[in-house]
């Protein structure tokens, strides 16, 4: 409980400053506040880890850039090279166009092309950091369980146990049905992965603060994993219900209307998972960003309005941040629950109709 408060206070206290700092950065360059730009920077990826601006000089941690160009092969260098010289080894960060803010090179015709880019960007670094953290966290808890056996645990472990048991008993067991034990470890991993990344995204200072789960590539991969597991654990009945569902025959032949709908459903389900998580996290961070920007936008309108709006902005930011905390949990919970439900649907046993027939026969 104490930890919780400390966390919330840190987080609430620092959140506006981060954006303030970012704003200074932009002001230095343009002298004009572009709220859209600030918010987009807040939620998008970058090649360096921006920390703050100190005396009109931006301080950021350089991250490794890993590229493979068809022309010149593999390249590994730090992102700080781009600060020294805008074009390094023929690569540069596009200022606009299709590949805005991405590393590009020029082909023979002078056209911008993307090399194969597996740079450790801000999000990728945070992702790896969080993954390592998650592994350490769960393995240390597992270690406690191995050591102490069934005896009750203390402190942090019991908090984790509460979360684990809640997901295990409240989500996985009722959603999947009989063989829930097989899928429980994966679903719990998904839950804690999303939850941890969401929380880390809310802490506004280094080495946290990267909006990992607000990146479509991340949610895409998560949804892809779930889709693969759902379809690989599909029973015969599941596939039958997709390609030959129990509907009036004219819906199936000659135009396979229902099978087509069902087949599209295979992809729309994980797609919805992907978009839901992404949109929630991006939305939350955008609102926080927007509210903090109120402080700077209202500067022009005079001191009284500015002070009032600043106070309001802080109050609203605190409020939205608390909601964000809730969302961090809820989105992890929903992703896990829907994954469990989809797996449960794929583990469907021969239809209820047949079972009902058997019951009638027996009677």
């Amino acid at each position: 409980m104490k930890c919780c408060f400390v966390y919330i206070i840190c987080f609430l206290a620092f959140s506006p400053f981060k954006i303030l700092a970012q704003n200074n950065n932009y002001e230095g360059k343009r002298k004009e506040i572009d709220v859209r730009e600030i918010i987009l920077t807040e939620v998008s990826d970058s090649y360096e880890w921006y920390i703050t601006t100190w005396k009109s000089k931006s301080i950021s941690i350089p991250l490794p850039v890993i590229l493979h160009s068809n022309n010149s092969g593999w390249h590994v260098f730090m992102s700080s090279k781009f600060e020294e010289q805008p074009v390094y080894k023929g690569f540069y960060i596009a200022k606009e166009g299709k590949y805005k803010d991405k590393i590009v090179e020029l082909d023979e015709n002078g056209k911008e092309i993307r090399p194969l880019d597996i740079s450790l960007t801000k999000t990728a670094t945070a992702l790896i950091f969080n993954s390592v953290l998650l592994i350490i966290l769960i393995m240390s808890i597992a270690h406690y369980y191995k050591k102490d056996g069934i005896f009750p645990k203390k402190g942090f472990v019991i908090l984790m146990e509460m979360l684990i048991v809640d997901i295990y008993e409240g989500v996985i067991k009722p959603s999947i049905g009989n063989d829930y034990r097989r899928y429980a470890p994966y679903l719990l991993t998904v839950f804690f992965f999303i939850f941890l990344n969401n929380l880390m995204g809310l802490i506004p200072f280094f080495p946290f603060g990267a909006t990992v789960t607000g990146n479509i590539a991340i949610t895409f991969t998560l949804a892809l994993f779930t889709m693969l597991i759902v379809n690989f654990s599909g029973t015969k009945e599941y596939w039958k219900e997709i390609f030959w569902p129990e509907v009036p025959a004219w819906l199936k032949v000659p135009v396979p209307l229902m099978p087509a709908v069902e087949f599209i459903g295979i992809f729309t389900k994980p797609f919805a998972l992907m978009i839901r998580l992404f949109a929630n996290i991006v939305g939350g961070h955008s609102i926080v960003g927007g509210l903090v920007c109120l402080v700077f936008v209202t500067v022009k309108l005079g001191t009284t309005i500015n002070v009032t709006m600043s106070a309001l902005s802080v109050i609203f930011t605190v409020f939205i941040d608390l909601i964000e905390l809730l969302i961090a949990y809820i989105q992890a919970y929903i992703f896990t629950m829907l994954s469990a439900v989809f797996i449960g649907l794929a583990r469907v046993e021969p239809s209820h109709k047949q079972a009902a027939k058997e019951v009638v026969k027996q009677v």
């Binding site: 592994i135 369980y145 719990l188 895409f220």
Partner: protein, 168 residues
């Protein structure tokens, strides 16, 4: 729009790190935790069941004890009754025996007394006879010297006196 396009680099790193996370946690992390949680739950269930059983057993034992106690009480009562009965019987028997014994002794005593009486009478008769004789002797000394003839007379006279009258 770049926000909605999955970036390959990030996708690559995500596949790698999430894959490793899933592999490690699914293989080593969560099964251990879940196993212990399940184990603990079944242990608690078993313990509760055992406690319930123990409670039932205790209840049964209590009823059993009560039953045994009641039985013992009944037995005691029965034994007491029996003892009383035996006591009474014994006393009765003893009394009867004593009575018979007493009767016998009385009988014996009576017999003895009768005998003694007879003997006494005999003696008395003898003595009476002798005294009579003596008296008669003294009386007749002067008149009669023929002793045997006198004796005969006296005996005859005594028999006529009916000794049986003293028999009681």
């Amino acid at each position: 729009m770049s926000l909605l396009m999955p970036d390959f680099g990030l996708f690559f790193w995500m596949m790698l790190s999430f894959g490793i996370v899933v592999f490690i946690l699914v293989k080593f992390g969560f099964p251990a935790i879940l196993q212990m949680i399940e184990k603990r739950r079944s242990y608690i269930e078993e313990s509760l069941l055992e406690a319930e059983n123990a409670r039932k057993e205790l209840e049964e034992i209590k009823t059993e004890a009560k039953k045994i106690q009641d039985e013992a009480f009944l037995n005691r009562k029965k034994i007491l009754d029996e003892t009383t009965e035996i006591k009474n019987a014994l006393i009765k028997e003893a009394k009867e025996k004593a009575f018979i014994e007493a009767e016998k002794i009385m009988e014996e005593a009576k017999k003895q007394i009768r005998y003694e009486k007879m003997m006494a009478l005999q003696e008395i008769k003898q003595q009476v006879a002798e005294i009579s004789i003596a008296v008669s002797e003294k009386l007749l000394q002067s008149k009669l010297n023929d002793k045997p003839a006198q004796m005969e007379i006296i005996n005859r006279m005594l028999e006529k006196m009916d000794i049986g009258k003293f028999g009681n």
